[in-house]
């Protein structure tokens, strides 16, 4: 059911409804999508906005996610503002087109409702899908709550289309946990959203610009390919400041501030956890509990994984005694999940750095509770006291 609301705050929406509502407010030129659990209801609700004439969007229903991203690429190259949504196998099927969207520097915004990858077949949350796409050249924002998913979608449009960036943005939210749970959130007025995202004016000739014909998607041999990739790398580097600036501008219209990460009770912390998305909420409860017990616990929730803010995270962790990085995806290096290995690598820049462990948790939607987070903090306290790491990398929330 499409949302009709005049209220601003205390609106109860699921994550997917909030994403669809943000898309309605953004009113993109083209949306091309193929349904897949748990992202399906984003498109279900958005298509009812299209049917009701609430948006001007050209909705392209395609036969697969590969075609969905292909249609998005074509439309974006033609100068349209383009959005889509997917999950899991759908994202995996888009794989080759993800790289093309990024390489062609097309500012497509996609909601990625995180879900495990087969096999075994599973429809529930983990980050295997988006983490697998981490090298595709897309900016990645991770959302803890329904509010953050809504806010990130709106900010993503401005980040993607910024002239220093021109890269596609993936806004991740946890499948079912966030996508299908109703939370209270504050919506922004239509006019304010419209003003915030502005009108998209491509600053380069698009496919439909007959006055300035240009060739898109041409072959680039060894004499020119690496220059295009170098530009892409630079855009990703510049995206970091753009994300920060857009976050500040967003605060002016919403009252909610966004940066590269959220620091929770980190000021005097001695032990800390780093964790993405909805599980950060659970872990904050554990931080409060540890504080009650007299332990100086803190938490960092990175919001931005691509570009990876390794210096900022390193700066926030360098004086901590023991850190646990929790990954909801394994990268099968037998060394640790993607967040763990990158944070550990970033800390190498600092002379003083904490003891650090990596833990994979919650794959395929396995519950991660406050007691799981507390057990991790207890282990960190032992490491802090003994200075010894028994297991660098391990799984938790698994039956032994």
């Amino acid at each position: 059911m499409a949302v009709e609301t005049k209220h601003k705050c205390n609106v109860g929406l699921t994550g997917n409804s909030a994403v669809a509502y943000a898309m309605k407010q953004i009113n993109p030129d083209v949306v091309a999508a193929y349904p897949i659990t748990p992202s399906t209801t984003v498109m279900e609700e958005f298509s009812s906005y299209v049917a009701d004439g609430a948006v001007d969007t050209e909705l392209v229903t395609v036969e697969s996610e590969h075609s969905a991203m292909s249609a998005c690429i074509g439309a974006a190259a033609a100068g349209a503002r383009v959005m889509t949504a997917t999950s899991s196998q759908g994202l995996a099927l888009m794989w080759e087109m993800l790289y093309i969207a990024a390489g062609m520097r097309l500012p497509i915004v996609m909601a990625c409702v995180n879900r495990a990858l087969s096999a075994p077949l599973n429809i529930h949350c983990d980050h295997s899908d988006s983490m697998g796409a981490r090298d595709s050249g897309w900016i990645q924002l991770y959302s803890e709550t329904v509010q953050e998913a809504y806010d990130n979608i709106i900010q993503a449009v401005r980040i993607a289309e910024h002239e220093d960036v021109l890269l596609p943005v993936m806004v991740c939210l946890d499948g079912f946990i966030t996508s299908h749970s109703i939370e209270n959130l504050c919506l922004i007025d239509n006019d304010k959203v419209k003003g915030f995202v502005g009108e998209y004016k491509p600053n380069q000739p698009s496919l439909l610009d007959v006055e300035h014909p240009a060739t898109y998607g041409a072959v680039a041999l060894p004499d020119s390919y690496i220059e295009a990739r170098r530009q892409q790398s630079e855009a990703m580097k510049l995206a970091k400041d753009v994300i920060t600036d857009v976050g500040k501008a967003f605060e002016k219209v919403s009252g909610r501030s966004y940066g590269l990460m959220e620091k929770y009770r980190m000021d005097d912390a001695e032990v800390a956890m780093v964790i993405l998305s909805s599980a950060a909420g659970t872990s904050k409860v554990a931080v409060d509990e540890m504080r009650k017990r007299g332990a100086k616990a803190g938490l960092i929730k990175p919001r931005v994984f691509r570009p990876f803010p390794y210096l900022e995270i390193g700066e926030a962790l360098k004086n901590i005694k023991a850190v646990a990085v929790l990954d909801r995806a394994d990268s099968y290096s037998s060394f640790g999940g993607p967040l763990f290995t990158e944070i550990r690598s970033g800390l190498y820049e600092f002379d003083k750095r904490p003891k650090i462990i990596g833990r994979v948790f919650g794959l395929g939607g396995r519950d991660y509770g406050v007691h799981d987070a507390l057990a991790v903090f207890e282990e960190l306290l032992r490491i802090k006291d003994t200075g010894k790491v028994d297991k660098l990398f391990d799984y938790i929330t698994v039956r032994e």
């Binding site: 390489g103 520097r105 380069q204 000739p205 220059e227």
Partner: protein, 99 residues
């Protein structure tokens, strides 16, 4: 000197029309088409069928081949009408030696 990455247009787009013409693709040809102008009836079959637009036509007359782009596939020689057969494919080295 070619442009550095800061000066190259982003997106890998090419802003100049027809720039592929400046790129030589004829380097790996094994057989080379040769034209016997006396036999040619300017029917333009070769021009129509050449997959690389490598048949040169001037003022309605077939005058020869663009060897920077001809890949030596022999389609032109094949399509040239049987009663004419104005195009012969010859080994690239032999043609070079002959010159």
């Amino acid at each position: 000197m070619k442009k550095g990455w800061k000066e190259t247009p982003i997106r890998g787009i090419i802003l100049e029309a027809g720039s592929a013409h400046g790129y030589s693709t004829g380097g790996w040809r094994k057989l080379q088409p040769t034209l016997d102008r006396a036999k040619c009836i300017d029917c333009m079959f070769c021009w129509v069928y050449c997959p690389d637009s490598a048949v040169i036509v001037e003022n309605g007359k077939m005058v020869g081949f663009d060897l920077e782009h001809c890949k030596g596939c022999g389609i032109c020689a094949m399509e040239c009408p049987d009663k004419v057969k104005a195009i012969t494919m010859v080994l690239e080295e032999e043609e070079k030696e002959a010159k």
